[in-house]
Amino acid sequence: MTDKYIYAVTSIRGKELKLLSRTFMEQLLASPDEASALSLLRDKGWGEDGQSAEEILALEEEKTWKVIRELVPDMSVFDVFLYENDFHNLKAAIKETLTQGTHPGIYIGQGTVPWETMQKALTERDFGKFPERMKHAAKEALDVLLTTRDGQLCDCIIDSAALDAIRQAGKASGSELLALYGELRCVTGDINIAYRAGKNGKDKAFLLRSLAPCETLNRDSLAEAAVHGEDALFAYLERTPYKAAVAELSDSVAAFERWCDDLLIEKIRPQRTNPFGLDPLAAYILARRNEIKTARIILTGKRNDLPDDMIRGRIRKTYV
């Protein structure tokens, strides 16, 4: 029922005023060094004195979820945004299980399944402890790693399962925006995998195992095109709704990744004027993640003394 989120959406309208604009991102980029950039972010209410860039960015991520938790009684509708973290943690847990050591800091805190649970389930080989969406991938990836020691294939199995879980959860949510997010995340993930696998001379079987099914791309055609090389892949993409990706991929993978994020932001922008429903809230979460990612890119660039033009090329479009 759309009436359910009227309070939350109006509150988010107020919070949208605090989102970072493109102009601010340019100011951030014009900072002479990382310390000055951090100071600008602090002026905007990001973090406190003495906190490192990563601490500030992690805090901002946590703030976003805190805001949403206060506004939405049932947070499970936004689990789709946390699935990527879950599958990242699964990768980490599998590798940690195999190395039989502890590696602090390899897990991401925000997720729908505690990483300790994953670790325990893998150690005990009790895959029933995993949610349905992860069970099969966890077993298959662990088996592959135990039998072949092929870490790349293990990662690909998990990545494919993650994309599939995101797409299916988006579709099942009943929210147009979450369905779109799931599909776009799956499409851009598949294109990325196909491009990289094609470059590395992987065969079709590997690609079919790595690509997740989606509605607006044909998995078989994409895999077939990727094994025939870059030109065949680009020729295939030219025939899809994602032909704009070709120019970006021709430029660099970083340009393609920026294009993926920009495409999502373009698609969610109409939510700025939607007064009802879950979609404006989902759009706010994505907008916040996007600005945190952009801030991270700028801060990392400043830390490593990268030229401003190079950093600018990676700055994402902003929601506001």
Partner: protein
């Protein structure tokens, strides 16, 4: 049931429909706009008065429905009088009340959608308060038209000499 009073029954049903439907629409509408108003005030308490005005706009239909119900009750003699009206008159009063009841219900809910959007606009830019108020007020036009038709009908019935 005394069939001599069946006209009175229909007339009273008309008054009840006008008060109930328009009132229910307003209650739903003001409730929806109230949620948005609370969201706005949670972000900026200084917006209270502005969003309160926008919240109250869908409440007018309930007042119009009440007015029509009062006029009907006065005309049919429930609030002092014989209460002696024919079946035809009773049905005419019922028909006269329907525009306010039906249009009141739907316009209040429709107006609440415009109010919610207007409150969100004010949350983003308080200087747009004047303009934002016009959008829900446009919906009010149709509630006023229905009110007018109901009033004209109610006052016209006694003149028919039935």
């Amino acid at each position: 049931m005394d069939t001599n009073n069946i006209g009175l029954f229909f007339a009273l049903a008309g008054a009840a429909i006008a008060a109930f439907m328009a009132g229910a629409g307003s209650a739903i509408g003001v409730g929806r706009a109230g949620q948005a108003a609370a969201g706005a005030v949670s972000e900026d308490p200084s917006l209270f008065v502005r969003v309160l005005i926008l919240q109250l706009l869908p409440g007018t239909q309930g007042i119009y429905g009440l007015l029509i119900a009062f006029l009907t009750l006065m005309n049919i003699g429930i609030m002092g009088g014989s209460g002696d009206i024919s079946l035809t008159e009773g049905l005419l009063y019922l028909a006269a009340c329907l525009p306010m009841g039906i249009v009141g219900f739907f316009s209040a809910i429709g107006q609440s959608g415009a109010s919610v959007a207007a409150i969100q606009l004010v949350t983003k830019d308080p200087s747009q308060f004047g303009r934002s108020m016009i959008f829900p007020v446009m919906v009010e036009t149709y509630a006023i038209l229905a009110l007018l038709i109901s009033i004209l009908s109610i006052f016209g019935i006694p003149g028919l000499g039935l």
